[in-house]
């Protein structure tokens, strides 16, 4: 092997791909995925000042027919090539080749962008992500801290929280909740207790007790 840097290294380029399947593919899913691509493009632009590179995805039905989406410029938006009738299942490829960003961080962003689409998807490979230590990460419907905000987006996507210096949820507390996936500040504990109370009342034993009473 030559020690000469590859052209990709010379350019400072990174290329990352995700492959998987989507169940229930239609125009809405296509639009959601286009949004995910823009989400990644916006992140690259924020990181590097401009989107130099391309973000592409392809969706293929079992018979080999498919469509592709291509994003090279955020102002122009996502270009769609081909048409695809609604499908029960499609395989998808999601690829980014851009400059001057961290490869792992890019993959992480891509993964979350796909996750945020709300589509019923499966990836062929497991994507390593610290966010996934959290119980509420896989279920984007609720958050154990009980705050009225998009909590998973704030403290999962913000890698600063791994430093344990600060928490983007805005509370004045130590960030212990990363150890067990929950936030233990006074406000969160109070909210959690409040949230847990109605659950107790609804338990089978409570109903039985109330009947006996």
């Amino acid at each position: 092997m030559s020690d000469e840097p590859t052209s990709m290294e010379m350019a400072g380029g990174v290329a990352v791909g995700l492959h998987g399947t989507i169940t229930g593919f239609n125009a809405d899913a296509e639009a959601r995925f286009a949004k995910a691509m823009i989400q990644v493009g916006e992140w690259v632009q924020k990181e590097t000042g401009c989107l130099l590179g391309h973000i592409k995805s392809a969706f293929l039905a079992e018979d080999g027919s498919g469509i592709t989406l291509n994003l090279t410029d955020l102002d122009n938006g996502v270009e769609h090539h081909g048409t695809l009738e609604p499908q029960e299942k499609v395989s998808f490829d999601f690829m980014c080749a851009v400059l001057d960003v961290d490869e792992h961080e890019l993959k992480h962003r891509m993964y979350h962008a796909v996750d945020d689409t709300g589509l019923d998807y499966e990836l062929d490979e497991h994507v390593e992500c610290h966010c996934h230590d959290h119980d509420h990460h896989h279920d984007h419907d609720h958050c154990s801290c009980g705050h009225d905000h998009d909590h998973h987006h704030e403290h999962h996507h913000d890698h600063d929280h791994h430093d344990h210096d600060h928490c983007s949820c805005g509370h004045d507390h130590e960030h212990e909740h990363h150890d067990d996936g929950e936030c233990h500040c006074a406000e969160c504990e109070a909210n959690r207790q409040k949230a847990e109370k109605p659950k107790e009342k609804k338990s089978f034993f409570d109903k039985l007790r109330r009947k006996k009473e």
């Binding site: 052209s7 010379m10 990352v16 000042g49 130099l52 391309h54 392809a58 498919g66 081909g82 400059l99």
Partner: protein, 195 residues
């Protein structure tokens, strides 16, 4: 058999141009083989080409000018043996150095009548690219036989002249042409220059 290598940065419109050139050659009744290379492990350009009705040989997961150089040579030999086309159009990744690809074609012993590099510059992001990766862009264009300024359909007033002046200053001997692969503006002039 002639080989054309489309060299240019990521997102400069190489795939769109590839499709237009392939269509032109098909209309002329020439047998054309397409080779597309992508840096990522996942190849999407092949699917784009398929969606638009083209068949291409995909070489993903690396760069044909370096890490996939052997794969390219093997692919070219197979194409020559199995298809024996009149034209081969190679689209390396936007992070490749086209002159290295040309060298690899030469040593592949596919008995070509000529190999040409078409350099593709992108109106839209030219300024950003020069600002950030001028050296790399220059390396990509350095051995181009002619340079295309693509995406003129979305150019701002004065932008084409500005880019053209910059390229002329750097490469005074190279023919330059402003085109839009998407709207096909000036593509007829490009076709006249091709074999």
């Amino acid at each position: 058999m002639y080989v054309y290598i489309l060299g240019g940065f990521l997102g400069s419109g190489k795939t769109t141009l590839l499709m237009k050139i392939a269509s032109m050659y098909t209309r002329r009744g020439l047998k054309t083989a397409l080779v597309v290379n992508e840096a990522g492990s996942i190849g999407v350009d092949g699917a784009t080409l398929k969606a638009e009705g083209y068949d291409a040989i995909e070489l993903p997961d690396g760069c044909i000018c370096c890490s996939l150089s052997g794969t390219l040579q093997a692919a070219l030999k197979s194409i020559k043996k199995d298809i024996d086309p009149d034209i081969i159009i190679v689209e390396p990744t936007g992070l490749a150095l086209p002159h290295k690809v040309k060298d690899l074609v030469r040593v592949s012993m596919i008995d070509d009548d000529g190999t040409f590099i078409i350099g593709v510059a992108d109106v839209q992001r030219f300024e950003d690219l020069i600002k950030k990766k001028e050296q790399f862009f220059k390396m990509q264009m350095s051995k181009a036989d002619f340079i295309l300024i693509n995406k003129i359909d979305i150019a701002k007033p004065g932008q084409i002249e500005e880019i053209s002046d910059w390229i002329k200053k750097e490469y005074p001997d190279k023919p330059i042409m402003a085109i839009s692969a998407k709207t096909e503006e000036n593509l007829d002039k490009l076709y006249e220059m091709m074999q």
